[in-house]
């Protein structure tokens, strides 16, 4: 409990600092949302529109950065993330509600699955050094060295096409209407297969490797030898004694990966035209949409922090040594 409280202080500080940085960095970029909007439309919006847009976005008022900063905190405490510029006047929170589930479901599930499979293979590779699983390592290393987007594009070209089972873009069939019905969910799953595969392939390598190395380290710990000496079944030694302990360092890596679900998949979403947060962030950056950017950053920051908190809790649960008495 104390440990958690102590961590909480740390999290609060980190959150504050991160939010502050998130606030200032977009504002240090030259240019403004109106100009970006005009530029994006290359002549489709007339120059006259400029003034009306300034008025619209409330950028005509000259407020100091500091007072904007405090306003921002005020808004945050009211749970108000502001209004997006790109999709003016849609509240940022609405936009996030639209995009977050996609990202969380796609990337969340693949991260978890990737971790599970990767770690499982890593356990075997580390335990049975020199076996075929160990031989997989160079292949997975190569696969994880390929940039996400490139792998995605190649996958798209090779696997997706007019007559292919894999759709080439989007989160679901344009014809279907989101809802909890079979056809929508089926189509959503169908659309998520290719991006999920890409993420899996390129992320699994590092899990395998990390777990394998930990297994090799742990396998030579005395308590594993003792477990052998005790004549326990091999599986029990591998899983209960070696893997159980080797997993600990991976937990924080996994938590961090969970935290980066939101921020780390920009490219996958761009390549697969997936309607998630990553793509939204990319758009927001492109159009100087500070409120949206900030909102997404806030989500990312919070999710990283929450993931870390979860990791702490998981650590607490998994590693009794961190549980302090009294």
């Amino acid at each position: 409990m104390r440990y958690l409280l102590q961590r909480l202080g740390f999290y609060l500080f980190t959150a504050w600092a991160a939010v502050t940085i998130n606030f200032f960095i977009p504002r240090l970029i030259p240019g403004d949302p109106v100009q970006s909007l005009i530029a994006r439309n290359q002549g489709m919006i007339s120059a006259e529109a400029m003034q009306s847009l300034y008025v619209l976005f409330g950028l005509d008022k000259n407020e100091s950065l500091i007072s904007q900063y405090f306003d921002y905190w005020g808004q945050l405490f009211r749970g108000d993330l502001g209004i997006s510029f790109t999709f003016f006047p849609t509240p940022v929170s609405d936009l996030l509600t639209d995009s977050l589930p996609w990202t969380i479901i796609l990337v969340g599930i693949t991260t978890v699955v990737g971790f599970a499979i990767g770690t499982g293979l890593g356990v075997v590779a580390g335990w049975k050094r020199g076996s075929w699983v160990d031989g997989l390592l160079p292949v997975t290393t190569f696969l994880s060295s390929i940039p996400y987007f490139w792998l995605g594009l190649i996958a798209l070209t090779l696997l997706a096409g007019p007559d292919s089972f894999f759709p080439s873009s989007g989160g679901y069939d344009p014809g279907t209407i989101p809802g909890w019905d079979g056809s929508f969910i089926g189509s959503a799953i169908q659309h998520s297969l290719l991006p999920a595969l890409t993420i899996l392939i390129s992320s699994m390598g590092s899990w395998i490797l990390g777990m394998r190395n930990m297994m090799v380290t742990v396998a030579s710990e005395d308590y594993v030898t003792v477990a052998h000496a005790k004549g326990l079944p091999e599986r029990r030694v591998m899983v209960g004694y070696a893997a159980r302990n080797a997993l600990l360092p991976s937990v924080s890596g996994f938590a961090l990966a969970l935290g980066f679900i939101v921020g780390g998949t920009l490219l996958v979403e761009i390549v697969f035209s997936y309607p998630g947060v990553g793509y939204q962030l990319f758009q927001a950056v492109g159009s100087q949409d500070y409120p949206l950017m900030q909102g997404i950053f806030l989500i990312i920051t919070l999710s990283v922090l929450v993931a870390n908190l979860l990791a702490d809790v998981a650590y607490l649960a998994l590693d009794p040594r961190t549980r302090k008495e009294g």
């Binding site: 710990e221 003792v226 005790k230 004549g231 326990l232 079944p233 159980r244 302990n245 009794p320 040594r321």
Partner: protein, 332 residues
């Protein structure tokens, strides 16, 4: 006394080929029923390697190059442990021979409760026992070594070093094995704790009647606690004798030197001679008797020929030294 374990010509290497380190060479040793056999020798002489080798627990790159480890079960024919299949070996382990490893800190899995680790071993070997029965047994075991039963639920880090060591001893006795191997079980503890644990062990031995192979480099401890002592040097057993005899009259110059390196707590203050020189390099073991470069009494055959372990006269003793020639031939 009937033997329970006979080690015959055991050779253990680290690595294979030219790079290999010959850590244990041609060791012959017999462990009798109910005795405490002390194994002493300086660091790196191959004590642990011997202990792990005979149970086949050496981590890579350790390999057993040859020899036999014959186990005499309570009923049935003796068999060679080195020829057991993995399955048989697993069954053999702990039920017949248990090991208390050097550092109790590392022998217990930090993430499992004491009870889990105790129950684990019972479950693996006696799958028919009930869960409650196993836990009750674990409780009894802890009591046996003087730890309150409520410590069952503790994690290793919540116990002191001494308690952990005792948990390991309790675990070693869980299946009432006939042999307990203890590799430096007390070096990390201070003397008060050390004595407590050893006292307990000796008492348990009397009650349960197992044999102990006790490894340490603290000869003074062995003299006090064991029935017989074997001294290792450079991967070989160089002397073997009843404890008191060895203390009174060590035949091998190395044993002599070892005994002379301990300051005595009582009695007159004597000058300590120690052993000159430094331990041999495992990769380039001296020819002949490995101790000859440091031996004050080395003479003509020592650098060339390896002395074999033999009985110098007293049938209870064995020594491998040219000063005490035995009937046996010499090895090249």
């Amino acid at each position: 006394m009937d033997p329970v374990l006979e080690i015959k010509g055991l050779d253990v290497d680290y690595g294979v080929g030219d790079e290999a380190v010959r850590a244990v060479r041609d060791v012959h040793l017999t462990l009798h029923r109910g005795e405490v056999l002390g194994l002493a020798g300086e660091s790196g002489s191959g004590k642990s390697t011997l202990a792990y080798g005979l149970t086949r627990l050496l981590a890579p790159p350790g390999v057993i190059r040859g020899g036999e480890v014959v186990y005499h079960p309570a009923d049935g024919e003796p068999y060679d442990v080195l020829r057991l299949t993995d399955r048989q070996l697993r069954d053999f382990r702990w039920a017949e021979t248990s090991i208390v490893f050097q550092g109790a800190m590392n022998s217990l899995n930090p993430v499992h409760k004491v009870v889990t680790q105790l129950v684990d071993v019972i479950k693996a070997h006696e799958p028919r026992t009930t869960k409650a029965g196993r836990v009750a047994r674990a409780k009894d075991l802890l009591k046996l070594v003087g730890i309150a039963a409520d410590r069952l639920e503790a994690y290793p880090h919540q116990l002191s070093g001494g308690m952990r060591q005792r948990v390991m001893i309790a675990m070693a006795l869980a299946l009432e094995p006939r042999i307990v191997i203890m590799d430096e079980p007390t070096t990390a503890l201070d003397v008060v704790m050390q004595r407590q644990i050893l006292g307990q062990l000796v008492e348990l031995r009397e009650r349960l009647g197992f044999s102990v192979l006790f490894i340490t480099h603290d000869l003074s401890l062995l003299v006090e606690f064991s029935d017989r002592i074997a001294i290792m040097y450079g991967g070989r057993i160089v002397e073997q004798a009843p404890a008191a005899d060895l203390y009174r009259d060590a035949l091998h110059p190395y044993s002599h030197g070892l005994l002379n390196s301990f300051p005595a707590l009582r009695g007159p203050r004597r000058e300590l001679a120690g052993i000159p020189g430094s331990p041999p390099d495992t990769r380039g073991m001296p020819s002949g008797c490995a101790f000859h470069p440091r031996c004050p009494k080395a003479f003509e055959p020592c650098p060339d020929r390896v002395p074999l372990l033999g009985t110098p006269g007293d049938p209870a003793r064995e020594v491998a030294c040219w000063l005490h020639p035995v009937a046996a031939d010499t090895a090249p």
